[in-house]
């Protein structure tokens, strides 16, 4: 794993995602930033086996951005890897554009429609079962919001995946501790998060979701041949990570920055790229 490369890619990706918001005045940058280092590690850390020339390649690894509002974090990556031309970023949410507010499978490289919360693990479990029965070894990654864990369907899926020992399933819980109206522990308590997943029969661990080495280590634990269970990686993250005035501020969930804020954010993100 090349941590310097990952840092560089993550800084580039933050900047690209911000431009989508700054230019088109749409999207959820802070929610994308909390799970962005995880997405970066999966795509640029040698984890996701994909074929941009054949997005539906049967043996591909699958990724489901179950918290669909962060799906836009994948859009520049899909361009960078060659799934979609870079010009499409300029047409984000435009009538003739491929990239939509929330991802759906009409976008090459996107597996499923998300946006409505609580679907990702269930759909990924179907892929995992199909892969197992076909003797394939592809992996199924899910990026789950911690607020998404309020959905009861998540826990139905958690039971199911554990029962079937779907060890090709790796779920990152983006634990940024924010939902729209406030901090999760002030709204409806979610802690102890790791204990919940472990109690449901998962291989569970907690990491710093912005530390590439920890993300890598957690993934290796999931891949360990002795691991027979699905893995839940509780990734402690910061909503809005990378833009100081957005960090850990629930109110920024879907707020659009004004001109001065855009100027400041661009400066901070540019500095990250040159750091």
């Amino acid at each position: 794993m090349n941590i310097e490369l990952l840092k560089k890619k993550a800084a580039w990706l933050r900047r690209e995602v911000f431009e989508l918001v700054a230019v088109h005045k749409k999207g959820h940058a802070p929610s994308s930033y909390s799970c962005l280092d995880i997405i970066t590690t999966l795509f640029y850390g040698g984890h996701m086996r994909v074929n941009p020339k054949n997005p539906k390649w049967e043996d591909r690894d699958r990724i489901f951005i179950s918290k669909g509002h962060a799906g836009m974090a994948m859009y520049p990556v899909l361009c960078d890897l060659g799934f979609v031309p870079f010009e499409e970023l300029k047409k984000f949410t435009k009538p003739d554009g491929v990239f939509r507010f929330y991802p759906d499978p009409s976008i090459p490289g996107v597996e499923a429609i998300t946006g409505s919360l609580g679907h990702g693990i269930g759909i990924a479990s179907g892929h995992a079962l199909a892969g197992r029965h076909a003797g394939k070894n592809y992996r199924n990654y899910v990026i789950l919001g911690d607020g998404e864990c309020y959905e009861g369907s998540i826990w139905e899926s958690a039971l199911f995946a554990a029962h079937h020992k779907l060890n090709s399933l790796v779920v990152f819980v983006d634990r940024n501790r924010c939902c729209i109206l406030g901090h999760t522990e002030d709204c409806v308590q979610l802690d102890p998060m790791e204990d919940k997943w472990r109690a449901f029969g998962w291989n569970a661990m907690t990491i710093d979701g912005h530390d590439f080495a920890q993300i890598e280590k957690a993934l290796q634990s999931a891949y360990d041949p002795s691991n027979t269970r699905p893995t839940a990686i509780i990734a402690n993250t910061v909503k809005g990570k990378g833009i100081s005035f957005m960090e850990n501020k629930p109110g920024w969930h879907n707020r659009m920055p004004n001109d001065e804020e855009i100027r400041q954010a661009r400066a901070e993100l540019d500095a990250l790229q040159t750091a």
Binding site: D104, G126, H133, L159
Partner: protein
């Protein structure tokens, strides 16, 4: 009319036979059994999935399987298969336009002793609102068999409705056309025609007998396919008749009667229509299905009276 095997068992046996040949078939149950399912579970354990009593996850798992080219069946009591996981069906299956067969058993007041929690008196209105969703109702076991065959020869997003109890045969083995036709005239009549399916088709035969004694010859049409309804076919079926009756063990809002009325409007047919169905009310009552139907005004006696009055109206 003699009773035969339960439609659900006929359906599942047909799928079981096909699943032995086709390992891409998956049958998922939300903890609902059937006599026919016992052998399936035993002989094809990899193709039978117990979802737990988790309908929401069941739909999402089916979605993932369908995305990988599997032929998927979701099996549960009709109310839980439709309303409980409506959003999952909309988002995961319908909006991604994926094929899956939803086999709902116990439509209408089938689970009569259980109360409104188990009644599926809104399943048609709910499911028909979803894009890409076909809706079929099995009025006898032969129809159930044909629907099972259709489900694997021509997979689509399809809700197949079945009563909990056995229904008397109305078709023969030679009647292979019924799904394609969608609206099947099972008894001829004069001037007045009744559209129905399922349990109320069984009851409609008795209504027809009652009305014959009063000099009214009521034609009976089995609404095999509730969605989509062919406009050409509805013109054909209705053209010999002056008055139309719809009859269902379902709420009047959005049910079979609504399907027929909307198709008539779209086909440019303007004829008097009487809708016999359940008005806006949930009955928490003991006494069985017959009593519930009486309370709802859809039992044979009440329906006969309403139809006779409608028939005699100038």
């Amino acid at each position: 009319m003699k009773n035969e095997a339960l439609p659900r068992d006929v359906f599942i046996n047909e799928i079981f036979d096909e699943a032995k040949r086709n390992r891409n078939i998956y049958f998922i149950s939300a903890d609902l059994g059937a006599q026919a399912l016992d052998a399936f579970r035993k002989e094809l354990p990899e193709q039978f999935i117990h979802a737990g009593i988790c309908e929401q996850n069941m739909v999402d798992v089916a979605t993932g399987l369908a995305q990988n080219g599997k032929t998927v069946y979701l099996y549960a009591m009709a109310p839980f298969l439709t309303f409980r996981c409506f959003e999952q069906i909309k988002v995961s299956l319908a909006s991604m336009h994926l094929p899956a067969t939803l086999l709902g058993v116990g439509v209408g007041y089938s689970y009569d002793d259980a109360g409104p929690t188990h009644y599926a008196t809104e399943d048609i209105s709910c499911m028909r609102s979803l894009a890409h969703m076909e809706i079929l109702t099995a009025s006898d076991s032969h129809a159930a068999r044909l629907m099972a065959r259709l489900s694997y020869t021509s997979p689509a997003l399809r809700y197949i409705r079945m009563d909990r109890q056995a229904l008397p045969p109305i078709y023969t083995e030679a009647d292979t056309f019924i799904i394609e036709q969608g609206l099947v005239e099972v008894r001829p009549g004069k001037k007045i025609v009744l559209f129905t399916n399922g349990i109320t088709m069984k009851m409609a035969f008795n209504i027809r007998e009652n009305l014959l004694a009063q000099g009214v010859e009521l034609a009976l049409v089995d609404v095999v396919k509730l969605k989509p309804i062919s406009l050409e076919r509805i013109r054909e079926v209705i053209s010999p008749y002056d008055k139309i009756v719809t009859y269902e063990e379902h709420f009047l809002s959005g049910g079979l009667g609504s399907c027929i009325l909307e198709a008539m409007a779209d086909a440019g047919i303007c004829k008097p229509v009487l809708r016999v169905g359940i008005a806006d009310n949930y009955h928490c009552e003991n006494g069985g299905r017959g009593r519930l139907q009486k309370l709802a005004g859809i039992d044979v006696e009440s329906a006969t009276k309403k139809i006779l009055e409608f028939s005699n109206r100038a």
